[in-house]
Amino acid sequence: MLTYTLRRLLGMIPTILIISVVCFAVIKLQPGNFTDQYLEDPRFTRATADAIRRQLGLDQPAAVQYLRWLWGVVSRFDFGYSFFQNRPVTSVIGELLGWTVLISGLTLLVSWLVAVPLGIYTAFNRNGLGAQIANFFGYIGLAVPDFLASLLLVAFVLSLGGTNVGGILSSKYIDAPWSWPKVLDLLNHLWIPVIAIGLEGVAGLMRQMRASMLDVLTQDYVRTAKAKGLTQQKVIWRHAVRNAINPMISLAGLSLPALISGTIVASIVLNLPTIGPMLYTSLLNKDQYMALTLLMMSAVLLLLGNLLSDLLLAWSDPRVRYS
């Protein structure tokens, strides 16, 4: 297993390199310049644009810019400067990373905790009223984009006279030290993004789990298990769910990049201090090293997610392990 993991990890390096070249090329191919956003300011002249380009190394050929960045990453773990903030990309990302992982992690967790049991339930009670209701809400959740759900929730809270209509903390707690009231205030804000963003995930996952359960339930070994007189509980948990969960594990691996880029629009609408909107602005304004680093983080998370899900699969399913 260790050699397998190491081999996979080493195998990622060329993939990551190729992804970085492609990402950088795409960022470069996008029309316009980093300095375009300043044109409207009366202080901005062509001479200033030239000075900025020189300072940022943008007067060098694209290949040189890329290789310098790569060398910085390899030799010093330096992911370059954010043109926008004029300080290292890593320090800018670091400021937002905690909140991003908390919010995305929590929404992912909630959607899994809700979706998997619901999927199992709807598979077993295909024609029951409960399943119909769950399916109905599943479809709605699937059809309503997260930003719209966010707006609706905000409007709902506003109409009730609430003040937690965006952000993750009330103004007075933002720069206050941690305390119980601050945690309560955080929870009071957090439920809106968790519901709005998580809801979308629930629907998809629930239907995936349901389909995969239905597949498994028609298998011979489930019938055999039932025939030999096992309890319903044992049939479900030991035989059906254990097999049906495999595709879900692969899915979980694929959803890791969502930690970074999953919630851009909802983050803007709900005013969350996450990395998503920064990826958006950096792509828009050609803050190239910031955009590149964030895209690379996404890619690395995807690859790691895949690896993790493969390892998990091997752990949960002996058939995968033995083959």
Binding site: R43, A51, Q55, L158, L169, P277, T281
Partner: protein, 580 residues
């Protein structure tokens, strides 16, 4: 046509009547704006569209930083909040020599930085020499300190006097001296490109030192910038009470305008600038008893939208047509300004001026008669007279080669007004047999698209300023922002534009701006700019559509509210605001 003339000026001294040299500046005379004596205390929360990218005003051009910097720093000069006339700020007085070339600023002696250090001429010298005039500073303004290719000389006369010597008279020079002055002792004498790295956004708040009414208390990335009262601030109210009244100003970072409104309605944000499109909803809430007021103010600043035709369009037939003033004048009749004002701005806009806001009494010339009326039949007649008729009966007029008269209108999609205006233009032009295809792009890309030349008709806006000289790069043919006729632009910045390609009226405007930039006589300048506005209105380099009003909503908890566009250095009413 207009000869450069330098009228002899008597020595002008702008100084505060009755104030001794070492006294705080008394802020009085705003009774007409409803300003009363306030009481101390309170927190005022505002919305900021994004995190400031740095805390160094000269390190990055960033309007969010500009908003925050405005509360932390001052310039030598500032605007009167009511008349927009210039007043000394960090300068106690300014003397201009009779030839209009020497400006001597006497600085206030009582001013202290927020960390207690004394403010003096060294700070001013450092800021001008190493930040404002520094070509490596990313948000400096060196262009304004070179006149006809010659530099403006600056020297320190004594610890509280600085002097600028200009190579020639430049009447708008004083207006520009609203640049924020930075503390030399905190910049560590940084020079050249190194100044851009001073004060990144993660600098400790105590190191951000200014002379403004507030100082930085904390900055939480992506969430909030908090400012607290600067006890050393150098202004007092009519009774001698120290300003600002407020204890704290906080900016919540909220990107989405709708989310800003939601936070305002929830009472988390105390004041918000809104658009005419958002007005009805908020006004209705105000009328039905919400605890805030919506204010309208006729705007001097603010950006009136215009349409422009590309004189250098890639399609040669269109380029020829767009360069023809008869076409531009004809199409003005198909621009339904009344409808745009009524439906897009909900009536909260008025007819536009030509390069000068109608409320700007100092310079505005009445060009309303030249705006004409919305009249599709007259447009038809005028286009027929140009030989542009519908020859194949498909409802679209045909150009000389038989091609349909059809072009793209480039506009910003992420705006509350551009898409609606573009749709109105498209439908009205169609009635006149002119096919317009809408081409939506991000509003932030409008100017770079305009300057790239890759467009046919564009819907865009530039902000108005108190003095036309400040908008010279936009309205003087060959200017860096005069992008509807790009072939006029000089090969290098500051060079002579391509005069040979200018139309007669463009040559005249070009000369007017050159003359007005060197004439110190106010009446001569007024005559020149009046002439310019009339030529503008008749020849329509661009066709202005409407002048939107400024609208702000403010919580009833606060007194002394004056509308503040926000990013105008030297115009800051916040020190007067108080919590009731």
């Amino acid at each position: 046509m207009f000869k450069r003339s330098v009228t002899a000026l008597a020595l002008i001294t702008l100084s505060l009547a009755g104030s001794a040299l070492a006294a705080p500046k008394k802020v009085t005379g705003y009774g007409s704006l409803g300003i009363v004596d306030g009481k101390a205390g309170g927190t005022y929360t505002l919305a900021l569209g994004d995190s400031p990218q740095s805390l160094n005003y000269y390190g990055v051009i960033d309007s969010n930083l500009g908003l925050v910097a405005q509360q932390m720093f001052d310039g030598l000069m500032e605007f009167n909040l009511s008349t927009y006339k210039l007043e000394p700020a960090l300068a106690e007085s300014v003397a201009v020599s009779s030839d209009g070339k020497t400006y001597t600023f006497k600085l206030r002696k009582d001013v202290k930085w927020s960390d207690g250090q004394a403010f003096n001429a060294d700070d001013v010298m450092y800021t001008y020499e190493n930040l404002i005039m520094n070509p490596e500073a990313r948000a400096g303004d060196p262009g304004n300190f070179k006149l006809d290719g010659k530099p403006v000389e600056m020297k320190k006369v004594d610890a509280y006097t600085v002097q600028f010597v200009l190579p020639r008279a430049a009447p708008a020079f004083l207006l520009q001296q609203r640049y924020f002055i930075m503390p030399q002792h905190k910049f560590g004498n940084a020079k050249g490109a190194a100044v851009n790295n001073v004060w990144p956004s993660n600098t400790a708040p105590a190191d951000i030192v200014g002379t403004g009414p507030f100082k930085l208390a904390s900055y939480t990335a992506g969430q909030k910038v908090a400012l607290t009262k600067n006890a050393n601030y150098w202004k007092v109210d009519a009774n001698g009470t120290k300003l600002p009244y407020l204890n704290a100003v906080e900016y919540l970072i909220i990107r989405d305008p709708q989310a800003q409104v939601a936070q305002f309605l929830a009472g988390n944000v105390d004041q918000l600038n809104i658009t005419g499109a958002q007005f009805p909803d908020l006004k209705q809430k105000e009328v039905s008893g919400a605890a805030f007021k919506v204010f309208r103010s006729t705007a001097l600043f603010g950006s009136p939208p215009f349409v422009a035709y590309n004189f250098d369009a890639k399609d040669a037939t269109l380029a020829k047509l767009f360069s023809d003033v008869r076409f531009r004048r004809a199409m003005q009749g198909a621009l339904n300004r009344e409808r745009i004002i009524d439906t897009v701005y909900n009536g909260l806009a008025s007819l536009p001026g030509h390069g000068v806001a109608p409320v700007n009494k100092d310079w505005y010339a009445n060009t309303k008669p030249q705006l004409g009326n919305f009249n599709i039949a007259a447009v038809g007649t005028a286009l027929n007279a140009l030989g542009i008729r519908d020859t194949n009966g498909d409802g679209i007029r045909n150009l000389s080669g038989g091609k349909n008269l059809e072009f793209d209108l480039t506009y910003g999609t992420d705006s509350s007004v551009y898409p609606a205006i573009a749709a109105i233009i498209q439908s009205d032009f169609a009635k006149a047999g002119v096919k317009v295809n809408l081409k939506g792009i991000l509003s932030s890309k409008l100017l770079s698209t305009g300057q790239s030349g890759d467009w046919e008709m564009i819907l865009h806006a530039f902000g108005d300023q108190p003095d036309p000289e400040l908008r010279k790069p936009i309205w003087q043919p060959g200017g860096a922002l005069y992008y509807w006729h790009r072939t006029l632009q000089p090969a290098v910045d500051g060079g002579t534009p391509n005069l040979a390609k200018m139309a007669a009226w463009e040559k005249e405007i070009y000369a007017i701006f050159n003359d007005a930039a060197t004439t110190t006589s106010r009446s001569t300048r007024k005559a020149l700019y009046t002439r310019w506005q009339l030529i503008f209105a008749q020849n329509l380099p661009v066709t202005p559509l409407a002048k939107p009003e400024n609208i702000g909503a403010v919580s009833n908890k606060y007194g002394n509210y004056i509308y503040n566009l926000g990013v105008i250095p030297g115009y800051n009413p916040v020190p007067l605001i108080f919590q009731k």
